[in-house]
Structure formats: structure tokens, C-alpha cells
């Protein structure tokens, strides 16, 4: 018996450190799949872009190392600055409206007062399931100045046709497409967050005499803050990376949407039309930086408000 105990003890003593060692080595092992993908799909391309942005390749003369010259050019490039300014404007106008709509829909659905709530929920969400390319083609047809339904309707009523694709309306028309696509998506996030609020809070509030509006204002909205912040962050990134919609509308409104209409579109045309891959890498890198700063600013203001 003692021998076996001793053996057992010895065994366990031997097992002890090795188990600990195993658990130490297991950690990285568990993280490895993520880490490998993260390095391969994120850090490596990022590093490559950074590397590319330090060179200049010419059709005549080949590749030369230019240091930060590309960045100096980019920061003074009016086409890039306009592109970034335009998406910033887009963000300021489009995102609050879209999130407000999503919030209203989520609250209405959560109130339980709507008939056919499931059908409505699905109906609002379905546009998100439509690929953005298809959505843009569809809206491009609807916006058409000659044969689009809005133009035809206003012609029948002897009104001037709405110029959806004109220079002054274009940003609004784009905002409308993006809102149509993403209201449902944001609504679902907010709605899911609403469903996690314990019902006894509502009961307690009702006992205290709070009506539906008061409950929405004092309980639901504060509880939604993290979810709203999440949707806001997604929207920052989405707005600054605006590409598909302008790229497709460019075909029907080439005079309004130039190849540098948004910063992302500019990077694309630099690389694939102008064969300026290095400069395109610089522009992408700077755009990434803008997005990081904008996201961080959003987080910072939100947190500060919470502390207050």
C-alpha cells in the first residue's frame, strides 16, 4: 500500500509540473489558429502595403525608394482630401439618420404593440440580405432621369423630374441606398439588445406609474448604449470605406462621380487605372489611419459621457 501511495505520489509529482507545462504550452496552441490567420490575413498585407508605400515605381525608370515622399504628396493631394471630406460629410449626415431609424424600428418591434411584428421585422431586414451591388443597380434604375419610375411619375404630373443623380443630390442618393441596405442590420443588433433587458424592470417601472414612452426613454435607451456604440463603430468604418455604391453609380453618372469621389475609390483607381500601386498603398494606409482615429474619437467621446 505505501509503495503504491509513494508511487502514486511520485507519479503525481512527476505529473504536476508537466501538466503545468502542458497548460502553459496549450495556451499559445489555442491561440495559434487565430494568430496565424491574423498574421497572414491582416498583419502581412498591412506590412506589405506599408513597404510598398515607401517606393515609387515608374513606367519609365523602374522602382526607386522614396521614403516618405508619397505621404507628403498624399497629404497635399486635393483629390484625396476631397474624397475624405466627402465621406466625412456622408458619415455626419447619413449615420445619425440611419441609426435613428433603426432605433425607432427596434423600439416599435420590441414594444409588442405592432401586429405582424415578425413579418415587419423580416421586411426591414431583407434589404441587408440583398448584395450591395444588386441594391445599387436597382436604385440606379429607380433614380434614372429619363425612364426611372420617379421621373415618369413626375412627368405625368407635369412636375420637374427629381435630379437624383445630379451633383448636389448625389451624396443624398448614396446615403439613401446605404441606409436602405443597413437599417435592417442595425435594427437587428438593437432589437437583440432590447430582448436581453429583464422584464421585471418594466414591471417595476409600470408599478411606479411609468408609461411606454417613459420606459423607452429611461430604461431601454440607457440599456441600449453599448449596442448603439457598436453600430456607430461599424458605421464609421462602413462610411469611410464607401466604395461599391459610388463605383457602380459612376457608370450612369460619370460626370458627377469621379474616380476620386471617395477615398477608397481613389485608391482603387490609382492602383488599377493609373498603375500607381505605391501611391495607392500610401492612400490606403492614410485612409486606414483616418478610420482608426475616427473610431477612437467615437469611443472616447462615448466613454467620457458615460463617466459623467
Amino acid at each position: 500500500m505505501p509503495a503504491t501511495t509513494a508511487a502514486y505520489a511520485r507519479k503525481s509529482r512527476r505529473a504536476g509540473p508537466s501538466a503545468r507545462r502542458r497548460s502553459v504550452s496549450a495556451g499559445p496552441l489555442f491561440v495559434a489558429p487565430f494568430l496565424i490567420l491574423f498574421v497572414l490575413l491582416f498583419l502581412a498585407p498591412l506590412g506589405y502595403a506599408a513597404y510598398l508605400s515607401l517606393f515609387q515605381e515608374q513606367l519609365i525608370g523602374g522602382t526607386v525608394f522614396v521614403g516618405l515622399d508619397n505621404y507628403v504628396t498624399a497629404l497635399k493631394d486635393p483629390q484625396l482630401l476631397h474624397g475624405v471630406g466627402r465621406v466625412a460629410l456622408f458619415f455626419v449626415i447619413q449615420v445619425p439618420l440611419m441609426l435613428l431609424l433603426a432605433l425607432l424600428f427596434a423600439l416599435a418591434l420590441d414594444s409588442g404593440l405592432l401586429r405582424l411584428a415578425r413579418v415587419i421585422r423580416l421586411g426591414i431586414f431583407v434589404p441587408y440580405a440583398v448584395p450591395s451591388v444588386v441594391a445599387t443597380l436597382m436604385w440606379g434604375y429607380l433614380y434614372g432621369p429619363d425612364f426611372g419610375p420617379f421621373a415618369q411619375l413626375s412627368r405625368n404630373l407635369d412636375l420637374p423630374a427629381p435630379a437624383f443623380l445630379s451633383e448636389s443630390w448625389m451624396l443624398g442618393s448614396l446615403a439613401n441606398i446605404v441606409a436602405w441596405e443597413f437599417v435592417g442590420y442595425n435594427m437587428i443588433i438593437l432589437y437583440a439588445a432590447l430582448r436581453t433587458i429583464p422584464h421585471d424592470l418594466y414591471e417595476a417601472a409600470a408599478m411606479d406609474g411609468a408609461g411606454a414612452w417613459r420606459i423607452a426613454w429611461s430604461i431601454k435607451l440607457p440599456a441600449l448604449r453599448p449596442a448603439l456604440l457598436l453600430t456607430l463603430l461599424f458605421s464609421v468604418i462602413g462610411s469611410f470605406q464607401l466604395f461599391n455604391e459610388p463605383n457602380l453609380l459612376m457608370k450612369i453618372a460619370p460626370d458627377v462621380i469621379s474616380s476620386s469621389y471617395t477615398a477608397n475609390l481613389y485608391a482603387y483607381s490609382l492602383a488599377f487605372t493609373g498603375q500607381q500601386v505605391n501611391y495607392a498603398a500610401t492612400v490606403s494606409f492614410l485612409l486606414g489611419l483616418v478610420i482608426v482615429i475616427a473610431s477612437y474619437a467615437v469611443l472616447l467621446t462615448a466613454n467620457r459621457r458615460r463617466e459623467r
Partner: protein
């Protein structure tokens, strides 16, 4: 990713070694033969024995093309050379196709052996040394089979042959006879008459425009410039480039079209879009200034107007000397990176010069032929489609083809020139702003770009 950097530098070193090899070989040959002509030594012709051997070796070739049902013509080639299999890849059309091609060429793998390429894009790919010179593979012998100006478009100053012409697009005018008759408009023979007709027609019916000059169609603009005798680009050597897209000829063209757009008597809708197709079907445009591929394209796209269309030459600047320009058409080129240069070069030549294959393009794909033989073939020129009221449209365009000037050159960065055109000149049509000023902006944008890319630019 320093690897790709190393790779490009080693590649250029290899190219350097190859060229010095060629030079020393040339020197050696010159020493032997005693004459000083060593320039063409790098284009040493491939012997018939080598060609025969390559064509009997089992090979798979990849061909990027957007031509529909090209499998029919390829079958003819594979029947003649059973050892060679050709795989067709459709990588998109026009810009999408070139973008993918450029990416594959840059990546150093995944590029095809043969590739569909439009005339205006050839210098864009020769400047990056991406195309194989087909002259040593027997292409020079084909010169006389092709329409002179098309051969001028595919050959280089040193006798290089960069591609084999497949189809062409000499420009003419398709017009709605019924609309012309209704408003008593004669078919305009000069641009002056054309402008008068545009004003008259739009005044008579504000819903109809004499023509649509698309604000996104730099290729059509270049075609009209070609007709007007413009010489916007000229290269000498590899790095000397002259750009003059706002010279007197261009300004004349800009004043003319910008003026009509400003008056609002022509429309400037973007072409090949849904509203544009609808415009043809609903009679918004009374003419289409198009190319020889236009007639069959239109008969497929505007079915509801069948029988009302007729074809005529472009209006002229000088009625005494009728001329035209080219818009579109394409060629088959071989990439410099191909592992099977002989078989690929033979394919490019066979596809477009074999009598059966060349004729098939005209009868199956309705391409406007680039070979003299098909262009003179009575079964081609005699066709009298009902869509054009039985008019012999092909014959008309065959006659126009003879009047295309062989001088016109393309810039070594056509994509950039085209994008910049749309954002300057095309935009001025839409905004009804000063087109001549827009030509100046186009000129300065191109000059800046060219200098940035290392060219020595001469402005005139």
C-alpha cells in the same frame, strides 16, 4: 515582402543580360558579314523546323478573351494542330479585363498565353514589356493580308508586330430615316449641316436629339479626333512622348461638340447603360455616331425600331476629302511571359488570318473584318439586313474603312487618358461648361501624369 522586389530586380537583370547578349551577338554578326546593320538581330526568326516541332508537342494554352462563342474558331485551330489545346477564360471586357491582366502580369504568374486586346491598349502593354514581338514568329509575312491602317495599329517603329488584328471599327453614322423624313431633314454630309440639323430637329421636337455624344465615351472622342486629323499622341524611342490633346484640331472639335452640348440640341447620356438602350428604343436619339460593329449591335439592342434605321458615312470637315476614324475593334496578342511562345504566336496568327477562321468571325460574331479577303468577300458585303431596310450596310462600312488614316497613335497609358477625359472633357458636356478649357485641363493632367511616370514630355 522584399521577395517581389528581388524578383523584379533579378528579372530586369536578366533582361539586361539578354539585351547585352543580343548586342554582342549583333556585333559578332556585323563583324562577320561586314555590314553595320545590327539593329534587328534580336528579332532572329524562328525556323520552320522549330515551329513544326512545337506544334506537334502536346501543349495547353490559355486564352483570355471576351468574344462570345469563340470556341468555334478555336475548334478550327485545334483540328489543324491536334496536339495543342486552348483553354478559354473570360476575364471580363475592356477595363475589367485589362485590370486583371495587369495584376496577373505584375504577380508574375496566372497570366494567359494569348490575350484579347484593343488597339488603343496595345502601347499600354508594350511599355511594360508585357507583349511578345510576333515578328520572329512569321507574323511579318501576314502584313499584306490585313487592311493597311489596322496593320499600322499593331506594329512598332522597329518592325515589331505586337498583335494580330481581329476586327475593326471604322466610324460611320446610323440614322433614323423615319425621324429624318418626318422633320424634312437631309442626311448631313458636313459637320456644319449636322449642327444645323441638330438645332432644327430639337426645336421641332424637344424630346428628340439628333445624336447622343456620351460623356463617358473617350474612345468615341478619339475616333472623332482621328477623323478630324488629330495627332494627340506621339512617341519616339521609349521615353519621349509628345502630348497635344488641346491643339488646334482638338480645340476645333471641342468648340463644335461643347457648343452643341451647351445649346442643349444634342444629349450627352452615358452609353451602354439602361437609360441609353431605352433611349434608342423610344426614339430619343435620331442618329448614332458609331463604328462598323454598331449596326449588328444596334439591331440586337433596339429591336422595336427595326426597319427605321439607315447607315451613312460620318459628316465631314472637308466634304471634298471624305475621311473617317476608328472606334473599337480588337486584336490577339501573346504575352511576353508565355512558356510556349511558338504555339501561342501560331495561334494568334491562325485565329485571325486563316481564311475560314477570319470569315467565321464575320458570319458568327458579326465582327467587322480586319482582313482584305473577308472585307472584299461578296457574301459579306452583299448582306442586306432588314433592320436597315435592306441597305447593304457592310459594303458602306467597307468603303469607309478605306478612308481611315493610318497615322493615329495611342498613348502608353490609355486607361489614365480615358479616365481623365471623362473627368474633364466629358464632364464639360454634362455641365455645359467650357469644353476648350476642359481640353486644357485634360492636357495638363496627362502631362503631369506622364512626367510622374518618368516620361520626357513634349507639349505642342
Amino acid at each position: 515582402m522584399p521577395r517581389s522586389f528581388v524578383r523584379t530586380s533579378s528579372m530586369s537583370r536578366r533582361r539586361f543580360l539578354a539585351s547585352t547578349g543580343a548586342v554582342s551577338l549583333g556585333v559578332a554578326l556585323a563583324a562577320c558579314s561586314g555590314d553595320g546593320d545590327s539593329g534587328s538581330s534580336s528579332a532572329e526568326p524562328v525556323s520552320q523546323a522549330e515551329i513544326d516541332k512545337a506544334m506537334k508537342t502536346p501543349t495547353e494554352l490559355t486564352f483570355w478573351t471576351w468574344v462570345p462563342q469563340i470556341q468555334q474558331e478555336i475548334a478550327l485551330f485545334e483540328k489543324k494542330y491536334p496536339a495543342i489545346k486552348v483553354k478559354v477564360v473570360n476575364a471580363g471586357q475592356g477595363v475589367a479585363h485589362y485590370t486583371k491582366l495587369r495584376t496577373a502580369l505584375k504577380a508574375g504568374k496566372g497570366a494567359p498565353d494569348m490575350v484579347q486586346i484593343e488597339y488603343q491598349a496595345i502601347p499600354t502593354f508594350t511599355i511594360t514589356n508585357s507583349l511578345l514581338n510576333l515578328a520572329p514568329y512569321g507574323a511579318t509575312a501576314l502584313k499584306d493580308q490585313f487592311i493597311d491602317w489596322t496593320w499600322g495599329q499593331v506594329s512598332g517603329p522597329g518592325g515589331e508586330v505586337w498583335a494580330i488584328p481581329q476586327d475593326t471599327g471604322p466610324m460611320g453614322m446610323l440614322y433614323r430615316k423615319d425621324i429624318f423624313d418626318k422633320h424634312g431633314i437631309q442626311v448631313p454630309e458636313t459637320w456644319e449641316e449636322f449642327a444645323a440639323a441638330a438645332r432644327k430637329l430639337h426645336k421641332a421636337d424637344p424630346d428628340v436629339y439628333l445624336t447622343n455624344l456620351a460623356k463617358n465615351a473617350p474612345a468615341a472622342w478619339h475616333g472623332l479626333l482621328w477623323q478630324a486629323g488629330g495627332q494627340p499622341y506621339a512617341t519616339s524611342g521609349k521615353s519621349d512622348l509628345s502630348i497635344s490633346v488641346d491643339d488646334a484640331v482638338s480645340k476645333k472639335l471641342g468648340e463644335y461638340w461643347g457648343g452643341l452640348a451647351k445649346e442643349g440640341v444634342i444629349s450627352t447620356d452615358p452609353d451602354f447603360t439602361d437609360p441609353w438602350y431605352a433611349g434608342f428604343n423610344k426614339g430619343k436619339y435620331a442618329t448614332w455616331l458609331t463604328a462598323a460593329w454598331g449596326p449588328s449591335f444596334l439591331s440586337g439592342s433596339a429591336k422595336s425600331t427595326a426597319g427605321n434605321w439607315r447607315a451613312a458615312p460620318l459628316p465631314q470637315w472637308d466634304a471634298a476629302k471624305p475621311v473617317s476614324g476608328n472606334w473599337g475593334g480588337s486584336t490577339t496578342a501573346v504575352t511576353a511571359s508565355t512558356k510556349n511562345p511558338i504555339a501561342a504566336a501560331q495561334f494568334a496568327q491562325f485565329l485571325n488570318s486563316d481564311p475560314a477562321s477570319a470569315k467565321m468571325f464575320a458570319t458568327q460574331q458579326f465582327f467587322f473584318p480586319a482582313t482584305k479577303a473577308v472585307l472584299a468577300d461578296a457574301s459579306f458585303t452583299g448582306a442586306a439586313p432588314e433592320f436597315y431596310g435592306g441597305q447593304k450596310v457592310n459594303q458602306l462600312f467597307a468603303d469607309i474603312s478605306d478612308t481611315v488614316s493610318p497615322e493615329f497613335q495611342w498613348p502608353p497609358f490609355y486607361d489614365q487618358a480615358a479616365t481623365d477625359w471623362t473627368e474633364t472633357v466629358g464632364k464639360s458636356f454634362a455641365d455645359k461648361s467650357d469644353t476648350v478649357a476642359a481640353l486644357g485641363t485634360w492636357q495638363s493632367r496627362l502631362t503631369t501624369y506622364a512626367k510622374k511616370q518618368g516620361f520626357t514630355v513634349k507639349e505642342s
